[in-house]
Point group: C2
Chain length 387, copies 2
């Protein structure tokens, strides 16, 4: 190696003697990640194959078809983005917004604000309607806003992870058709765990994540684009200002051409394939019913303990429950204690709910009667020590 | 569940009876992904923890410090982007380019062209210098171009995966300082396998991937930003036009504040932590020497078989070798046969080398004498059947 003599000296690693990895056991009952199904973890640990291998190309088709089932859509452009749910969120914005266009964001929690931030970066003329954190929009409020603002896109959150509110979707898609705008929907905390019908609800753009209702680790962002949004993409004046998330390029890889775009995260896709297969095996309705039953069991149990829930029952998400921290209780100290002593993770409040609520997630693999009983027992046992 | 009566009927999955996953065994000797180290796969399969768990926060620090070692840099802003190498590539552009700024791209293969496409999307005034695919730039050529174009950023590829060329870097960083421009470097096919000194070479922005020299599956994109690029980021007039890859936001999560940005792909980070630990355990120089020795063994063996290499020896990458497909041989049929019959993946040519070369990767865990002997034996045995 003749180059050797010109090379600088290597600075030794300060981490040279680091030990092999060892991770703590956790029961993840926060806003996500949730625990992954053991079969999904086994799938992720299989030796990788090439991203153009015929086996992998078949697997891509399976993942797409299973995602369409989970979302109840026929959208051709349904695929997992090679990033987390936030990347898929940005993909819906990046591919649909052109500079100067009016985007109306219905904000009722943290993730609505994130949509505002993203749309602004893509130079949208962003308009906002707001509800208090813990409420949902009525059809009338949506129609009034559409009439007032006449946006190209209405962006909203189906399952708001920061508040635990499930936005009723009936009729909203029809309004968007009436006022000629696209409907963009965040389904991060609903996919797999809450009734969700993209086509029936006339949703044009949707995104989700892998680590909640799907029982897979975080790292993939399911994405779906319907025919109206696709038509808009084809008519763009300029290239999508984001290379990695450009659906017109991704379509050549995920579509029939299989043209190389980027090296796919193959192992994560092994995992989501297995996660979606398990969901199809259980059946969507069975999964939705399981989430609803376990959530009701949690709500009743918390009520028995004298705790108050932040969201009225008819708007409550079965996947994520916001519990009001009682007066005088240090919520952060309580959840830190649960993590340290019992290995159980709860979530804290975000934004206007910071310090006011705990967030309890019962998602995918973790939505079980046993987990509900466990967390209720911990509240009963430990909460009195923090009052 | 009172909502139930209003719900549409669920359309059954066409994949309801899909079997549990089973993947083929592959020896991945193409341009990547390469096979992952078995300990890395075990790490990835550990049950996830929360992305704000104190254990995970410590692990993030380990990953950062180990990445600094692998790159030989002290850059504070060194972290794995939550996407593949292409996401990290886009992150270097998105965070450093402002609209209208001159970006000079030194193109000598496929990935140079990708840098041009990305920089154009971020509204740079892109200027290009080019070399034939298989050559590298001289210091004089770089200086002349810097003088002519006076760019804000010079972007180039250290290890061009499409050609197998290693760009000599001595002196280029000094020229960039002299002409007051940032140096942005693609190290996708060099990190871990080829001598690489970010600080010594005065590189301001660099990116790489997880699935080559690091022996981890694809899914993370190591990224590093030096103080000069950080100063430029701080002086930006507008927000970075990419939310997911915005380093000013990521810095709050990966820096000392640990402010939630997006849910990290925790399992992939378990994997890269272990991959980088194994690299530190072996030692960078030992890994570089191993890659060089095995590559030389491959080159000599191919020469003995009468095959020609595309790149002159002094510019050859030890991680990726381009082999000229002999006249009359159907290169694609040969590599398809190796995959089907022997489970061995080779790469084909891209762009101007399509149909002209095979690409043989010996990267990370796969750079072994045994793999070299195996692929040479397959060439000896099978190639005569394709002539």
């Amino acid at each position: 190696m003749s180059l050797k003599q010109y090379l600088p000296e290597v600075v030794e690693s300060r981490q040279k003697d680091l030990k092999a990895i060892s991770t703590p056991e956790r029961l993840l009952l926060g806003p996500g990640p949730s625990n992954a199904h053991p079969d999904v973890l086994k799938a992720i640990a299989r030796p990788p194959v090439g991203h153009l291998d015929p086996f992998y190309v078949d697997l891509m088709g399976e993942v797409q078809e299973l995602l369409r089932y989970a979302w109840q859509t026929k959208n051709r452009l349904t695929l997992p983005m090679s990033g987390t749910g936030s990347a898929a969120m940005e993909a819906t914005i990046a591919n649909s917004v052109e500079p100067g266009e009016k985007v109306l964001v219905a904000v009722k929690g943290y993730f609505g604000h994130r949509l505002v931030d993203m749309a602004t970066r893509y130079q949208a003329d962003v308009q906002i309607i707001q509800k208090d954190w813990g409420e949902a929009f009525s059809l009338e409020e949506v129609e009034e806003a559409l009439l007032n603002h006449r946006p190209s896109i209405l962006a909203m959150v189906h399952a708001e992870t920061s508040t635990g509110v499930c936005q009723p979707m009936e009729g909203i898609g029809d309004l968007c058709r009436k006022y000629d705008c696209l409907l963009l929907l965040d389904t991060v905390t609903s996919l797999g765990g809450v009734p969700l019908f993209l086509d029936e609800w006339k949703v044009d753009l949707a995104y989700s994540c892998s680590q909640k209702g799907l029982s897979c680790p975080p790292g993939l962002g399911p994405f779906s684009m319907g025919p109206r949004a696709e038509a808009k993409l084809l008519k763009r004046k300029n290239k999508v200002p984001n290379w990695y998330l450009d659906v017109s390029l991704l379509n050549q890889y995920w579509g029939s051409d299989r043209v190389y775009h980027h090296t796919a995260p193959v192992n994560m896709n092994f995992g989501i394939r297995e996660a979606l297969r398990l969901l199809a095996e259980e059946g969507l309705e069975n999964s939705w019913n399981r989430h609803q039953m376990n959530a009701e069991k949690l709500w009743n149990g918390l009520d028995d303990l004298g705790l108050k829930l932040h969201v009225p029952e008819h708007l409550r998400l079965p996947t994520l429950t916001t519990v009001v921290i009682p007066d005088g209780v240090d919520g952060k100290a309580f959840s830190t204690h649960l993590l340290r002593k019992h290995g159980v993770e709860l979530g804290g409040g975000l934004g206007s709910l910071a310090g006011k609520v705990w967030r309890i997630g019962l998602m995918g693999y973790n939505s079980t009667a046993k987990n509900v009983e466990h967390i209720l027992r911990l509240f009963e046992l430990e909460l009195p020590n923090f009052s």
